[in-house]
């Protein structure tokens, strides 16, 4: 036997070291480039989920960011500026939502839009209108699911891949109940309760954060600015709190002002001094390549009495 024959251990060990990114690590210093023109704005005080949170700290943001290349935005009424629907000539009137009258204590989500691009620039569309009823019947095409839900049903539609669709519907009911239905053309639909831990497909994994967001509060605009000539907002959300409020899990994102398409997000733990322990950052740097014509025309329900109020300015995350 050749003295140079490697052992199984040597073969395995070397194969792993050659194939695995040995220097992989969380990019703690990775931040997406927040445009320099973003300016802090006065924001409303947050609804606090737990007693004892410092007013100066958690100003109220609810952001949910979903899976990998997908960003989830939850826009609560009375919290965020109304997008310029009037600028979109094909806009249809607001969807009737008889069961979702927002109140101070309500967690009803008027609209939720997701959009993302993968690193290759492929567009992955997510769109939804949050309602209180179950979603559409099985067999609908993706285009129909994107259309105005006249029945009042809320839907979250995911399009996966290039030109092929796996239709997955997430129905959100005022933050307290949801179900997920997966419909694949030619196959029976399957529905299961969405406690968001029994999710289908890894793309929904990050909706655990969305769930926390639903339970935690509301989103807040913390800055306004422009990026490459496009008006943007910076939103912040406290997703969860620990250690009697001394430590928060916070998500922050920049979105286009007119339609809330996300540009990027980051999240981390933040302490009362503002020091952060970053967890992840995701940037969608090619948002301008989105085909906005494919988005539903009436996905957004204008917030009743929307507009920022006076309040304490939030500390901007500095990840």
């Amino acid at each position: 036997m050749s003295e140079h024959t490697p052992t199984d251990e040597q073969v395995a060990r070397q194969a792993i070291r050659d194939a695995f990114p040995m220097d992989a690590g969380l990019s703690a210093d990775k931040t997406w480039r927040m445009h320099s023109e973003l300016r802090p704005v006065a924001v409303e005080s947050a609804q606090r989920r737990r007693a004892g949170f410092s007013t100066a700290m958690a100003i109220a943001a609810t952001l949910a960011v979903a899976a990998g290349v997908l960003s989830v935005f939850v826009i609560t009424q009375n919290r965020l500026p109304e997008p310029s629907i009037a600028e979109r000539p094909d806009s249809t009137p607001t969807v009737n939502r008889p069961n979702a009258a927002p109140t101070q204590s309500s967690r009803a989500i008027p609209a939720l839009a997701l959009h993302a691009l993968n690193p290759s620039g492929e567009v992955l569309h997510f769109t939804s209108v949050a309602k209180t009823e179950f979603g559409p019947e099985a067999g609908e095409s993706v285009e129909e699911m994107w259309s105005d839900p006249e029945t009042g049903a809320g839907r979250l539609v995911r399009t996966v891949g290039r030109g092929k669709n796996a239709v997955t519907t997430l129905v959100i009911s005022d933050g307290s109940a949801a179900s997920i239905t997966t419909r694949i053309p030619g196959q029976p639909s399957r529905t299961q309760p969405a406690d968001l831990s029994g999710r289908l497909g890894k793309s929904f994994d990050r909706l655990s954060a969305y769930r926390r967001m639903l339970e935690s509060g509301v989103a807040t605009v913390t800055a306004r600015g422009t990026r490459d000539g496009v008006k943007t907002y910076k939103l912040r959300a406290q997703v969860d709190g620990f250690a009697d409020g001394q430590l928060q899990m916070v998500m922050e994102a920049e979105v286009r002002a007119d339609d809330y398409l996300p540009i990027g997000y980051r999240s981390g733990f933040v302490d009362s001094s503002g020091k952060t322990l970053p967890l992840r950052t995701r940037t969608f740097s090619e948002f301008e390549h989105v085909d906005v014509d494919k988005l539903p025309k009436d996905w957004f329900t204008p917030a009743a009495g929307s507009g920022e109020g006076d309040g304490e300015a939030s500390e901007l995350l500095d990840l």
Binding site: D18, R162, D240
Partner: protein
């Protein structure tokens, strides 16, 4: 639990936890989320887990989350398989053949290979980290290495 304690625990362990999740999932996005989930769960259980139990607890949670992630991946693959879709993804493993071979190994063998081949830990250190005995870790490691080498020789 004081915030300063969490800060220390986080900073000391986050990178290794992330690499472990990356090793098991081949997805940076999943690894980031799983890593975050580990710490969230720790914060939720910090009154019950403290002292020398913390780090093994973190890795046990990460280990289990990675296993759950794998199960969901299988479900997802079945759901979209009929449509011949390609889910956009940025794989972490440079050599897909090694990743495919690694995935066939039991989770404990993958874990042992990770800590030896990637993190260069001793068996004693791995045992302490995972809460297993040194002999169990050694067995997992050598069996895993043998199986991986055999798989690679067969398919390369």
């Amino acid at each position: 639990m004081r915030h300063a304690d969490f800060d220390e625990i986080y900073r000391t362990n986050v990178q290794q936890l992330y690499r472990y999740c990356l090793f098991r999932t081949n997805s940076r996005e999943q690894a980031e989320d799983l890593t975050a989930e580990v710490f969230v769960r720790y914060l939720q259980n910090s009154t019950k887990v403290f002292g020398p139990r913390v780090v093994p607890w973190l890795f046990r949670v990460a280990h289990n989350l990675c296993a759950d992630s794998r199960a969901r991946e299988v479900m997802h693959a079945k759901a979209v398989g009929a449509l011949d879709v390609r889910v956009a993804e940025e794989p972490a493993w440079i050599d897909p053949s090694v990743w495919r071979a690694m995935r066939k190994l039991p989770a404990e063998q993958q874990q042992a290979l990770f800590f030896k081949a990637v993190e260069d830990l001793t068996f004693k250190q791995i045992a302490k980290l995972t809460g297993r005995t040194q002999s169990a870790v050694k067995m997992s490691y050598y069996r895993g290495a043998q199986a991986l080498a055999a798989e690679l020789r067969e398919h390369r």
